[in-house]
């Protein structure tokens, strides 16, 4: 198998893709937003429980490819417990990770470095531009939910 593929589909991704974490609809969610990729039909709902500006719970449901599912799953793990501002900073930084060379990454305020370290496994999508949308789909939905919208605006 080619190196590029191994890099895209790292074990962690395959694992999260097959066994997504927080794949559920929490009863007490107070925000939700849909993320949809019209090209491939991937569709996720991201649910948040926001309280006093903190993401107390985050989960998702829907169907998607290994990349989008893994990314959604990992997102729920790293975003939980963050403030809205921290979650948004993670979104922006992660977006850069997927789309830009290292030296072009912007400053989006303080981010959880450990979380970013974990999300590094998804940076392989940079070599596969058509898959960037997969990796960022649930994140866009999460960001929309924080902003009180019900749908991620398609870029």
């Amino acid at each position: 198998m080619m190196d590029e593929l191994r890099e895209l589909y790292q074990e962690v991704i395959l694992d999260h893709g097959k066994n997504p974490r927080n794949f559920r609809h929490p009863d007490d969610a107070n925000r939700e937003a849909k993320g949809e990729n019209p090209m491939c039909g991937d569709r996720f709902m991201v649910y948040l429980k926001l309280k006093d500006g903190v993401v107390e719970d985050v989960a998702f449901q829907g169907r998607g490819c290994a990349i989008s599912t893994a990314s959604a799953s990992m997102m729920t793990e790293v975003v939980k417990g963050k403030t809205e501002a921290e979650a948004k900073a993670l979104f922006e930084t992660f977006h850069d990770l997927c789309t830009k060379d290292d030296h072009d990454h912007g400053d989006h305020g303080p981010v959880d470095e450990d979380a970013m370290e974990r999300l590094m496994v998804l940076s392989g999508v940079r070599q596969f531009p058509v898959r960037v949308k997969c990796a960022t789909l649930a994140w866009h939905a999460m960001n929309a939910a924080i902003e009180g919208e019900d749908k991620a605006s398609s870029e």
Partner: protein
Amino acid sequence: MDTQITLPTFDVERVRADFPILSRTVHERKGKPGKPLVYLDSAASAQKPRQVIDAMTRFLEEDYSNIHRGVHFLSQTATDQFEEARRKVARFLNAPSERNIVFTRSATEAVNLVAHSYGRTFLSEGDEIIVSVMEHHANIVPWQLLQMDKGIRIRVVPVDEHGVLDLNAYEDLLSDRTKLVAMTHCSNVLGTVTPAKLIARMAHERGVPVLFDGSQAAVHGVVDVQDIDADFYIMTGHKLYGPTGTGVLYGKYDLLKKMPPYQGGGDMIESVSFEGTTFKAPPARFEAGTPAITEVIGLGVALDYMESLGREAIAAHEHDLLQYATQQLSQIDGLRVYGTAPGKGPIISFTLEGVHPHDLGTIVDQYGVAVRVGRHCAEPLMERFGVGATARASFALYNTRAEADALVESVIAVKEFFGA
């Protein structure tokens, strides 16, 4: 030794030599050679033979000019070639005359033309249009726009689990309210070829005209619009080995004559004054503005190319590939083919258990195998089969059994990769 009867053979290697792009490799990387291209996405758009590329280059280098407008030498030469392409399209479809052939930019534009011009003139609130569940969005959304405008209803003929059109349901849907049937002649997802002649006859018994979306059907078989008795028939040039920017609307002349213009501009008018403008007769009436001159001429050459190989020979070759590839793919555990209608076109939509089509597409691409993944502009059909997406391999006149093998091997690699 018995004397051998030599059947006319389809020499696919010679055909491939006509397509420059097929000799390229993909994914070359530092120090690593690329993979030979295995192009199985012709249902999205077909590659172009050298004959088409050369004819367009030659036209641009030697004869190019605007058409229908000049008294000068080049304008007449260009006009002659453009109009010759119209005759070629008419012959390709066995239309009674080139007057029946309207050039558009695409199949999409051709449907919109009919929806706009015919639909807005002859349909009104409460009228119904019948489509099938396997339409491409190009044959759904223009009717929905008409629906918003006119309050018409769209009725949908279902398919069975093989993807065969439910003719009983079609019969039941036909009524006094039906004012148009707009149906695919070959599904771009399932490959199902619909019984066009029968569909037309059943509609005509009620005096209802029928439009066929032949975007796929015209590529894979011989289409005779008079035999079918189609009222409108639509094709798109880029799937017929011709250039983009070319679409065809065939229409019965009586219908075309009754229809008002679709767009206004130059070339479609008889005279213009602010007191009133008069329009040319069809097809010119529907060809406002400067068309894709070079491309239309290229399309004519593409149709010549198909005729030179023999359209029945092409269909036979593609059918062999379809059967072979279906058989080989079906041996893969967990692989499911969508669309198993008898007599279908060379299009195989499939899913692999435990692997999303998008991941499959990325991985087989690394092996040089180009397939389409997604919803194929046919969301209602995806819903019908309860899948979010499929992978689709489509075969064209230049594909080989070896390429079918390459597809199968790459799918097996996907399976191993995901441990599916």
